[in-house]
Amino acid sequence: MSEKKYTKDHEWVSIENEIATIGISNHAQESLGDIVFIELPSVGNSVKAKDEICVVESVKAASDIYAPIDGEIIEVNNNLENDAAIINQDAENEGWIFKMKISDSNQYSELMSEDEYKQFLEQ
């Protein structure tokens, strides 16, 4: 699997064979607090980077999840439907939210590396 990259909206993306796996960062999980519900995106939808595609609801607030890059949603993490708190426990692995077939790998290269994301959080 490729290096994990991050967006300014606190999503992480990793890519394997042109399939991107996307979730929210551990930092995002911490600031949202207890996550109780996720409205998953629809499989088959084609989306553009920055589109709002699903919603994470924590006890505190609802928070939109954006598509990090262009592509088609091909799979969602159905485990989250019954237990959205998996994101709190393991945001950057078991708590993945959806997978996309991506159309432009340049968009991926432009995202932040883990170190760059850490710096971004410190700003």
Binding site: D34, V36, V55, E57
Partner: protein, 346 residues
């Protein structure tokens, strides 16, 4: 006061329902007003109680009312003696300090604001009494809404058996110098923990209790908010009471809006400000508070709908541009668990 401490809102919430939790509510207003007939008479213009007849060592839930009977603030007012002098001790909302204090000072110019020198903490939950009794003397016959002066390390603290979670519990007004010691002492009990604003809100919402700025504001009367039990009926006849005609009229006639409790039928969260519709897409009301209920494992809400709406019909809530069915639920959502005469809030 943070939204939550390390273990999160849900854990704090459950700890209060099952054991106990401690809230630092020092941001709230606290004032002492001398129990003097002319001060009480002036205050009775705003407060719908017979202030001269308040029983010593008891607290009352009440309001400051404006000319139209709208709620300037909701507050807890108690009659206590401090150093042999009789006072009204009032605890009021932080967000309304300016408005409230203007009234208090106009009625009693020597009123003493004490939140600068006293912290306010609430310990809430079924084990509160056990945890507190370890370090402070609490009489066995102390009931919900009783209030007294007790001592910790020779310092006087004001203790009331009250709170805003629907559970048994206490509020402690503690001199700043000893507050940290006292709370650290309480926290030595491993079943209690500090809790934040997030669980304070979900606990009070489950208990069906109103929050200023949400269910209550200057345009809503206590009667519209379903709190007419807190009004002294004799005082409603008194022309000295602000809004007495409006209130008397509302008691006799039908109200235009009613307060309701709602439960989500899906996993979506109901939140403050969302709009409610009937099955013909007509707007019938709004949600004033909504949250996730850890006890029911569903989202719950309080809101207002127009009185003529027949609640046998379905209600829909607009959540992110979609209409979702919600169910009416009697308030409170979770049974209150007060010591003895738990009728204080009902």
């Amino acid at each position: 006061m943070p939204i939550n401490y390390k273990t999160g809102i849900i854990n704090e919430h459950k700890n209060v329902r099952n054991h106990s939790g401690i809230f630092d509510v020092s941001h709230m207003g606290q004032i002492l007003i001398e129990n003097n007939e002319s001060y009480l008479h002036r205050l009775e213009k705003y407060i719908p109680l017979q202030l001269k007849k308040l029983i010593k060592n008891r607290s009352h839930y009440s309001f400051l009312l404006n000319n139209d009977g709208g709620v300037i603030d909701d507050l807890i007012i108690s009659n206590i003696d401090i150093k042999d002098k009789s006072y009204l001790y009032i605890v009021y909302n932080a967000s309304r300090k300016k408005e409230d204090e203007e009234i208090f000072m106009s009625c009693a110019p020597n009123a003493e604001i004490i939140y600068t020198k006293n912290c306010l903490f609430a310990i809430q939950g079924p084990d509160s009494i056990k945890v507190l009794k370890n370090i402070i003397d609490i009489p066995d016959n102390m009931n919900f809404f009783d209030i007294l002066i007790s001592k910790y390390n020779n310092n006087e603290i004001i203790i009331s058996r009250s709170g805003y979670t629907g559970e048994d519990g206490f509020e402690l007004s503690i001199p700043n110098e000893i507050a940290e010691n006292l709370i650290t002492h309480l926290l030595k009990n491993e079943n209690t923990m500090l809790c934040g604003l997030g669980s304070r809100d979900s606990l009070r919402l489950e208990a069906g209790l109103s929050l200023y700025g949400h269910e209550l504001n200057e345009k809503i009367t206590p009667i519209e908010a379903g709190l007419s039990w807190a009004l002294d009926k004799e005082r409603l006849e008194d022309e000295n009471l602000n809004g007495n005609k409006v209130l008397t009229d509302q008691l006799k006639n039908k109200l235009s809006n009613k307060k309701i409790g709602l439960i989500s039928t899906s996993k979506s969260m109901l939140r403050d400000g969302m709009t409610l519709f009937d099955n013909n897409n007509n707007e019938i009301g709004k949600i004033t508070s909504g949250c996730f209920s850890p006890n029911l494992n569903k989202s719950i809400a309080i809101g207002y709908i127009i009185s003529e709406f027949n609640t046998d019909n379905p209600i829909f809530c607009e959540i992110r541009k979609k209409l979702e069915l919600v169910k009416i639920n009697n308030l409170p959502f979770v049974k209150k668990n007060y010591k003895k005469n738990g009728s204080v809030y009902e």
